[in-house]
């Protein structure tokens, strides 16, 4: 699962195939084309019944425009190739930018008004419009950008996309269908929690400010080690030198930020959750995941060292860390949770000697047996009381 979470991997051969494989071609009639055809037919009937060569000429030109439209857009798309650039991870409720690399391999014919449309389930990704490029000149490579808004957490599979154009007269739509499978992992939504929430539950506790067990700071005494050239003269242990005659350097400990471990309790299967009438068990679980993600985001924002454990789902232990990559890794873990999988036992907590505040997030109800006594317990139903109200 972690392998899946750590990156939305697109098989290389898929990418390669997408670049060089010949796309499927389709021609579709658009509404304007239907109306236009009817008008042309009416004019054709009038021209046939009335001895007016000018009317026939107009009809001929209108008919020719229809044919020319098909020819021009057909030639234009003849040598156009496209591939989807592997999308980055998305987040529910935020924009997901998907870029496409469009290559016009034609030597002479430019391509205009190219739309790129993704074949994707609308319940997973809400699209805000096709990707569009005005122009791809002969032997040009351009990038188009589509904006989606993910609706659900988890991996989303992108299969095929199509490059279309109705240029020049908007009568026929020429379509190139490119098959390129790839996956994008959608992280859970992050809501803004009250900023003092974590500081309230971690201050003074076992997760509060403390000295680390490693050297590097400049506060309290940590130990003495052998002198190494380059050590500051201020740090030399003069008393030890006087006693032993050997140069030694005093090491001092450094202060570390508070630590928090988020424990997501998913031990109870979805159908075993206790829900009230009108409440959805799956929604509660998803809300719990969102709450956990929000705690992680808040901890990251406040500079805490943090980590995530998931009870009920097999996940490898992750050490307490901070930083962007650590956060993204944990978010990916949350994103990849399969709620339909069989739940496991165990609390998933790290070593018992870890000094960190434990925040347990439950879906439906609190179960204090899962964590040490000092742990803080929240349920998904409490979410509205924890978020910032504007």
């Amino acid at each position: 699962m972690l392998a899946l979470a750590l990156g939305a991997r697109t098989c290389h051969n898929e990418r390669v195939k997408a670049v060089l494989s010949t796309p499927k071609r389709r021609t579709r009639i658009v509404a304007a084309g239907v109306i236009y055809t009817i008008v042309v037919l009416v004019i054709g009937l009038a021209a046939g019944s009335r001895p007016n060569n000018l009317l026939i000429w107009v009809f001929a030109c209108l008919l020719a425009a229809m044919v020319a439209s098909g020819f021009v857009s057909g030639f234009m798309l003849m040598r156009v190739r496209a591939r989807r650039i592997e999308p980055r991870r998305g987040r529910v409720g935020e924009a997901l930018l998907v870029r496409y690399e469009i290559t016009n391999t034609s030597r002479f014919i430019p391509a205009y008004d190219l739309h790129v449309k993704e074949h994707v389930d609308g319940s997973l990704l809400e699209t805000a419009g096709d990707a569009w490029v005005l122009h791809a000149g002969p032997r040009d490579q351009v990038h188009a950008e589509a904006v989606f808004r993910p609706r659900l957490r988890g991996p989303i599979r992108l299969n095929a996309f199509e490059v279309t154009s109705t240029f020049p007269f908007d009568l026929l739509r020429k379509v190139l269908i490119f098959s390129q499978r790839s996956e994008v992992l959608i992280h859970p939504e992050v809501r803004a929690l009250r900023s003092n929430l974590l500081s309230q539950i971690t201050s003074g506790g076992m997760g509060g400010n403390r000295l680390s067990s490693s050297a590097g700071g400049n506060d309290d005494f940590f130990g003495v080690r052998e002198y190494r050239p380059g050590d500051s003269i201020r740090q030399i242990a003069w008393k030890r030198l006087a006693g032993t005659g050997k140069l030694a350097t005093i090491e001092r400990s450094r202060s570390v930020p508070p630590r928090v471990r988020i424990l997501l309790d998913l031990r109870v299967a979805t159908n075993a959750l206790k829900v009230t009438e009108g409440e959805s068990a799956r929604t509660l679980e998803e809300e719990a995941i969102v709450l956990a993600a929000s705690f992680l985001a808040l901890a990251d924002r406040l500079g805490y060292e943090y980590s995530l454990s998931i009870a009920g789902v097999a996940t490898p232990p992750v050490a307490l860390r901070r930083g962007h990559f650590h956060r993204e890794k944990l978010m990916s873990v949350l994103a990849a949770i399969d709620l339909d999988a069989v739940r496991t036992s165990g609390n998933g907590l790290a070593a018992s000697d870890e000094r960190a505040t434990v925040v347990v997030v439950h879906a439906d109800r609190t179960d204090t047996s899962i964590a040490p006594n000092e742990a803080w317990h929240f349920t998904a139903r409490q979410f509205p009381t924890l978020v910032v109200t504007s």
Partner: protein, 759 residues
């Protein structure tokens, strides 16, 4: 102005051209002026530095007001014939309002549709060259505007979709550089050329069932011009047209070119019936007695009076050269006795009227030059030969308005005051006396009318009396009109006096170019006059229209632009000849020419080849098996050519694949032979779904395969290493190495099959 901004200008130009075209089609210069001024103003108002547009509610109210105003005007005093003109007027006003409205996508669509409908309405109103040229311009602008609109609309949609998710994604920025514009121009030109070319093909092959006739009315305004009927209520105001139709060179029997003392009357149609209910003169459409002559090529004359042998007396020659006019009618002075054309034509002669008409079916256009032998005062023998025994008719004394007889007698009395009019011949008088009386009376009344009546082309000052025939109004009330009224009045009076007469329409040639020594016949020289029977088959022209008035109009309308009109006339002749008058006959002629051309080009060659083959077979004594031998050789050559083509294509593809373009030919051949195993490996991978991207080197491609399947990558890497040694190193592909390559390919296949089984 960027490419996307240009759309606004293109849209404006489209509307402007449509309005100008429609105004030209309607020949309404007031409409032209107003529409151009208002449209130009709209550009400044809406697109100027402080652009303002009409609010939607106001533009909607204005559109409704226009519909009510123009619709009620048409219902109250509109003519059903002019329905298309009225509709066009409404469209034009709505279009003008839309030019001031907001520029939304919907408004743009409406503007585009209105412009197109306006042009189509114009097509139903006019076939003039000026309008046709504007339709062509409109077509070009429409293509340009449609393409720009397509881009502008897509850009607008893309921007709008970004605004929907504002705050989540950066706004769309569209870069439009010079290169984009230049390439757009190119593709627009290609589209235009394609539309014109395909349109021409459709135009040429479009089935034409109906004969070309009247090309639509022009409402209450008409231009002067030849017609084979006279509508006395056709229009109140006649606009003088200076268009050059053709030229006439008069050559006397002695060969001298000169200007005649009297204007030259060129006959085009003879009108015999007056339909009082329709207030129009029409020609009799009898087909009886029509004789067809086939003219020889190279301007050799064919005699129309074929029955006459020997000398028929001195004949003048009229050489007619068409400038812009395309018609079946062969205009001729009275009486034609011979006709010559530059290319063979079928000419029909109506013996009753001596009107000539081109009835050729093997033609594309109607434009051609011809010469006529004419006799100004033909002998009775010549006229009898031309008439060739056609039956007599009493239709020339019929006039359907009884009241006209009293009017005629009153006019006769009035004319008698100033003119010499002979006494009415006795009932038992012979034909000669009757014809003499008719001629004298016609001459006297025509002379009297020239003095008493005034010539005008503007009849709008004379109110129409309901229930009164226009000829009666002309003779009794107005005493003013143009040549059609003069001819109608004179003919009506003569017929009421039982004098045989008929109306002739055609042209009067009065403008003589001394330098070029020919008459110039313009559209405004269209004329109508009367012919009175002065013999059994003899008719004499009587023109009641004051000649001075015609000359004055001619002088008045002469302008500096006349000197350059020939250029326009040439284009106009092409338009009329090739477009307006293109019909099913021209279509079948083109089809025949293509067919015969095809047959000539290939039929003869095939026959020649067949003969050569027979000769060879007989020389080699192959007998009946010769055909089999030749077929075998042909198949062998074809197969060899096909094989050669395949090999060349394959070599070219491999050369490109292995990047050998810059390598010496000998080295190329070696590498193509030795590196075949590498190409085969690529094909194997491609079939398995692993195509090598052109931007990856072979080794990088092998490495990229490793991410998918290590065994496959290893197998391919070994092949790549071997390929590198052959391609860049000194290694020659010896025969024992070929075995190695074979095993490497097999290893690759095996690795791929393992991979597919696992997945």
């Amino acid at each position: 102005m960027t490419l996307l901004r240009r759309y606004r200008f293109a849209s404006f130009m489209l509307a402007l051209v449509a309005m100008i075209a429609f105004a030209i089609a309607e020949l309404d210069f007031q409409m032209l002026f107003i529409s151009v001024v208002l449209a130009t103003l709209s550009w400044y108002v809406t697109e100027g530095p402080r652009g303002r547009t009409l609010p939607d509610w106001m533009s909607n109210i204005l559109v409704i007001a226009v519909l009510l105003w123009r619709g009620s005007s048409f219902l109250i005093d509109g003519d059903a014939v002019d329905a298309m003109g009225a509709l066009g007027g409404i469209l034009m006003w709505i279009l003008l309002i839309k030019l001031y409205a907001r520029r939304t996508s919907s408004e743009e669509r409406q503007r585009f549709a209105l412009s197109t409908m306006l042009v189509i309405a114009g097509c139903l109103e006019s076939v003039e060259f000026a309008f046709g040229a504007l339709v062509l311009v409109y077509g070009g602008v429409a293509i340009w505007a449609a393409m720009l609109w397509q881009l502008a609309r897509s850009a607008e949609t893309a921007r709008a979709s970004r605004q929907v998710i504002a705050g989540f994604a950066p706004p769309l920025e569209i870069a439009v550089g010079r290169r984009v514009v230049a390439q757009f121009r190119g593709i627009a030109i290609v589209s235009m050329v394609m539309v014109v070319a395909l349109g021409t093909v459709v135009f040429v092959f479009f089935p034409r069932f109906a004969a070309l006739g009247s090309m639509g009315g022009r409402g209450r305004t008409s231009v002067t011009g030849f017609s084979d009927e006279i509508r006395l209520r056709g229009g109140d105001r006649i606009t003088e047209s200076r268009r050059e139709l053709f030229t006439v060179r008069w050559i006397d029997p002695d060969g001298t070119t000169r200007q005649l003392l009297r204007p030259l009357l060129l006959r085009g149609a003879v009108l015999t019936w007056y339909a009082a209910n329709g207030e129009r003169w029409v020609a009799s459409r009898g087909e009886a007695g029509i004789r067809i002559f086939r003219t020889p090529a190279q301007n050799r004359f064919v005699a129309l009076a074929a029955a006459l042998k020997g000398d028929i007396g001195p004949m003048a020659t009229a050489e007619i050269e068409m400038r812009s006019y395309a018609s079946d009618v062969i205009f001729s002075t009275y009486a034609p006795v011979g006709v010559a054309t530059s290319e063979p034509r079928s000419i029909a002669l109506d013996p009753m009227t001596l009107i000539l008409r081109d009835v050729s079916t093997d033609r594309v256009g109607r434009y051609w030059n011809y010469s006529l032998h004419v006799q100004s005062q033909p002998s009775a023998m010549v006229l009898d030969a031309l008439a060739a025994g056609s039956s007599e008719s009493d239709q020339y004394t019929l006039f359907p308005i009884p009241r006209m007889q009293a009017i005629a007698l009153r006019i006769l009395d009035e004319a008698r005051v100033s003119e010499t009019i002979p006494d009415t011949p006795a009932l038992d008088a012979d034909d000669a006396a009757r014809f003499q009386y008719g001629r004298e009376v016609a001459r006297a009344i025509a002379s009297w009318m020239r003095k008493q009546f005034t010539y005008t082309t503007d009849l709008s000052a004379f109110p129409r009396v309901v229930g009164e025939d226009p000829i009666v109004s002309f003779l009794e009330r107005n005493r003013s009109g143009h040549c059609e009224y003069f001819a109608s009045g004179l003919c009506a009076v003569l017929r009421s006096l039982k004098i045989e007469s008929r109306i002739v329409t055609g042209f009067i040639a009065i403008e003589y170019d001394e330098r070029a020594e020919h008459y110039i016949v313009r559209e405004s020289n269209a004329h109508a006059w009367v012919e009175v029977r002065t013999g059994v088959n003899s008719w004499t022209a009587m023109d009641a229209t004051p000649e001075e008035s015609l000359l004055q109009i001619q002088e008045r309308n002469r302008s500096f632009a006349d000197g350059f009109r020939w250029m326009y006339s040439r284009l106009e002749f092409l338009w009329n000849s090739r477009v307006v008058s293109y019909d099913s006959a021209a279509q079948s002629t083109i089809a025949d020419r293509v067919r015969s051309g095809w047959r000539e080009a290939f039929g003869a060659r095939l026959a020649q080849i067949g003969a050569s083959m027979r000769n060879i077979a007989s020389e080699l004594s192959l007998g009946s098996a010769g055909g089999v031998w030749f077929a075998t050789i042909a198949i062998g050559i074809s197969t060899a050519l096909l094989a050669r083509l395949i090999v060349v294509n394959r070599t070219r593809r491999l050369r490109r694949l292995l990047h050998l373009e810059a390598v010496a030919p000998a080295e190329q051949r070696r590498l193509l032979r030795d590196a075949a195993f590498y190409v085969e490996a690529l094909h194997v991978l491609e079939r398995a779904g692993f195509s090598k991207p052109s931007h990856l080197t072979p080794r990088a491609f092998a490495e990229s395969l490793r991410a998918h399947h290590a065994q496959t990558a290893d197998a391919f890497a070994a092949i790549v290493e071997q390929f590198y040694r052959i391609r860049y190193g000194p290694t020659q592909n010896r025969s024992e190495e070929a075995v190695t390559h074979r095993s490497q390919i097999l290893a690759l296949r095996f690795a791929l099959s393992q991979n597919s089984q696992r997945s």
